[in-house]
Amino acid sequence: MSMLLGGTAAAILEAMPDAIVVTDAEGIVVFVNTALEAMFGYQRADCVGRTIELLVPEHLHGGHAQARRSYAAQPRRRSMTSGSDLFGRHRDGTEISIDIRLSPLETDGQRVLIAAIRDVSERRAAAEALRRSEARLRAAVQNLPFPFWAYDADGSCTMQNNRCVEAWGDHVGERLEDIGLPDDLLARWQETRRRALAGEVVHQEERLDAGPELRVVHTIAAPIVSGEHVTGVLGINIDVTEERKAQELQVELRAAQESERLKDALLGTVSHELRTPISVIRGYATLAAEYGERLTQNEMVGYFRDIDRYAVQLDRLVDDLLTMSRLEAGALSMNLRPVDMGLIVNATIDAFRIAGRQRDFIVSAEAVQVVADAGRIEQVLSNLIDNADKYSDPCASIEVSVRREGANRVAVSVRDYGPGVATDELDAIFERFHRVAGSPGRGTGLGLAICRSIIEAHDGSIRATVPPGGGLEVTLSIPVLDEAVSRGAC
């Protein structure tokens, strides 16, 4: 025990949890406690009488001796750590990260310096690890290949990465409302922020007018949850323009392929439908030409009649095909004007009778004004009545009715008492070239398809049902003329 320290003082220092070294004014060690022995690996006897530099890493000896001398000139209690990391030297040469607190002490006219040393290796390592981890995280966020941003609960921007600054400008510290977004976009993002602050992960996609072209941006916003509270919102914007373009192309391509396939199928059907009358014409014509001498006059006349009948059928088919394709291309103009649906119905039935055809009609028609192409609607009704006539027993009636359907539509029905159509075929009869199994006679297979196209061009619909009592009822429904328009027009 040094003569410079009293027994009591030494006992107190011995009991301290910190490592303690006491030096005289020249830096000669006069006392170390047990904790210092443990920390530096020396025995007390190894240290006492040596300069304090024994405990300082060699590369710091010069600086340390100088600092020690200047401190000795103006001693005061202070921490040595302020500003720099300190290191001690273990007996085995390893460096120990330390914190030192210096206290000058006058005892018996002698000045000594007490240094309390604490091993802070672990604390420094932890702080360093935290610093590195934060730096890594920051670098990761900064270098995300898409904009990243965060807002606090009060609505101020707390963070933007590089891409975000490039895309939107630097708005850290500003509120969403103050960064000059277009009104509609601001409203959408406020809503997104509101939902995220309520705890929801929000996915949102929008088209942004960004320079030369529209970009499709997918935004994901999520709540920042700290404990049980949402303290802000963070989010990313991902540009999905190319993906969406590719998807749209894919959809278009599929639609084009489907349309091509349908066109091929239709072409196959059309050519088959065209070839059938040609087969008859060619057959009978060559039959008459090759075997004419052996055929009776009646047979010859019969063949020529059939040839003509099929030529007419062929002509009708070509007409219907043209009408159909014009309707589909939207090239058949509708001559729309206010007209009474009841009048169109009566005109159609009159035309049927003028053609010398016999049929009992039961008509119940109320006067309803519509905006329609009267000629086209008459074409539809005449087609429906022809079908009803064709499939009915000659003595059976055909019922035609015009009635309002709700406030805005008028329904016109043509009902026969013929064999009807199987319920699973009721929709199919409006398709091109659909043939009802076992149907007599031969139309072009396009009549009802054309009817449907014409009615659809009137913003209407057409359907077939099997009414109670059998037969078939075809009903078309189109909008009535608006009351106000009606008064103005008439």
């Binding site: 088959h272 057959g283 030409a289």
Partner: protein
């Protein structure tokens, strides 16, 4: 009179049928003379045309308008030397009829089948050939029908011959 380079007189156009074996048919081999033929065709006028031409060639014709009717005629009115088969029938397809015909023991080997179709030519020709049947595209002229059937019968001798 038109002369060929060999100096022979060519038949003038539209002068009527050339003399066949019987002095009546379009082909002079008489291949169709007395042959029993089943005409399967749902279009009435086409059926009538084919039947009439074959009758004028001296064949005995039985007709059917559906696939099931065709198979019934195979059973109750066969055997037939030739079947002309439309592919587009209201009940079952002509191909199914063809497969069924091949399964009828009495007619499997003996019966020649000629497919008549207005469908896509090459595909049907290939499939017909693969199934041992002849093929004739619709629409067809009377002469082409007779020649095709005659040559098919000659190239496809029945079991009895």
């Amino acid at each position: 009179m038109i002369l060929s380079s060999a100096g022979e007189a060519l038949p003038p156009l539209m002068k009527g049928p050339p003399k066949g074996q019987s002095g009546r048919g379009l082909v002079n081999t008489g291949a169709l003379e007395g042959a029993r033929i089943l005409v399967v065709e749902d279009e009435p006028q086409v059926q009538d045309f084919v039947s009439r031409v074959l009758q004028l060639e001296g064949a005995t014709v039985v007709t059917a308008s559906t696939g099931s009717e065709a198979l019934a005629r195979m059973e109750d009115a066969g055997p037939f030397r030739v079947v002309t088969l439309d592919l587009c029938l209201p009940d079952i397809s002509g191909w199914e009829v063809l497969e069924a015909i091949r399964l009828i023991p009495a007619s499997a080997a003996a019966c020649a089948v000629v497919v008549l179709s207005a469908g896509p030519g090459e595909e049907i020709a290939r499939r017909s050939a693969a199934m041992g049947a002849g093929y004739l595209a619709k629409p067809t002229a009377a002469r082409a029908l007779v020649e095709r059937l005659a040559s098919f019968i000659e190239g496809c001798p029945s079991a009895g011959e």
